[in-house]
Symmetry: C2
Subunit: 147 residues, 2 copies
DNA sequence: GGAAAAAGCTTTCCATCGCAAAGCAAACCG
DNA sequence: CGGTTTGCTTTGCGATGGAAAGCTTTTTCC
């Protein structure tokens, strides 16, 4: 075994391709602002008004507006227009599709979190951070210089 | 009570500002590709070679290179240059700082996941998705039209 | 031993996107 | 009936992720 130390976390010798490729993290959802909007809407199934979302997510009018457009175009939310005391109001709600996709996104996140936590607990008890086999204990036997 | 139905999930009447503002999600880390890299490096404390990372994260050479630069500039990883059998090799490892910041990022994610899951279980038992008080059962009493 | 291919990255380029700021229309207020 | 507020939308710009191209050294093959 002259190649490298160890590669995949739990599989055999070679890295299983894409083990850490989080390409299932939906582009539309994987965005701080939109995550906030989606979480807000998820926890408020009756929908939320523009102004509520704005405060809940600490977004400016402009940014909220654009993110809502994106989510709407992606079919993740519905946007309804109405009036309250003669003033225009915008009501947003998750669509069924949005709910589903949000939940799978969250599952993906949960997977990541669990990966990290299970590794953390597995390597618990080692004194400082990384003790044995660190500072070059493996099979790579060259000199390394900072980039 | 003529205003709206209910606003904040568990607080009183008005939305607690920023409740769903995930602005603590580190910009540098909140990025699919970089998340993959960081998770890979976290679970391989001895470091990983460029080629390993490339396969683990299913990234192209160019993209991996750029993301590594970003992470390096942010002080989250170290990049070492060396040779293996007369060929250049790049070894990447988390810095202590990178490890810390990654863990707080993951904690933030965990918070989101738990928010979602606790809401899901709290509203479990309702038949389809959202049963009572949905389709306009609340206090908003106007007509709504699609955006 | 010269051409071609491979390894191992880095650099360039561009469409996209997030965010700030400006814009706009209706309603309210004095 | 000017000015301010509410309630959004649109515009503009600077940053950036990703595809593609580039570059250097090494190996292979005839």
């Amino acid at each position: 075994m002259a190649r490298r130390k160890k590669s995949a976390a739990s599989t055999g010798d070679r890295p299983s391709t894409g083990q850490f490729a989080y390409d299932r993290l939906d582009r539309v959802l994987h965005e701080k602002a939109r995550l906030g909007i989606m979480t807000s809407l998820y926890t408020h199934p009756d929908g939320l008004l523009f102004a509520d979302l704005k405060h809940l997510c600490s977004l400016t009018d402009g940014n909220l507006s654009r993110h809502l457009q994106v989510l709407n175009d992606a079919g993740l939310i519905e946007i309804w227009k109405g009036f309250h005391k003669r003033r225009p109001q915008t009501l947003c709600r998750l669509t069924a599709h949005g709910r589903t996709r949000f939940l799978s996104y969250v599952e993906e996140l949960e997977g990541l979190v669990k990966t990290v936590e299970s590794f953390s607990s597995a390597s618990a008890g080692e004194n400082g951070r990384r003790s044995r086999a660190s500072r070059r204990g493996g099979a790579i036997s060259q000199d390394w210089v900072p980039a």
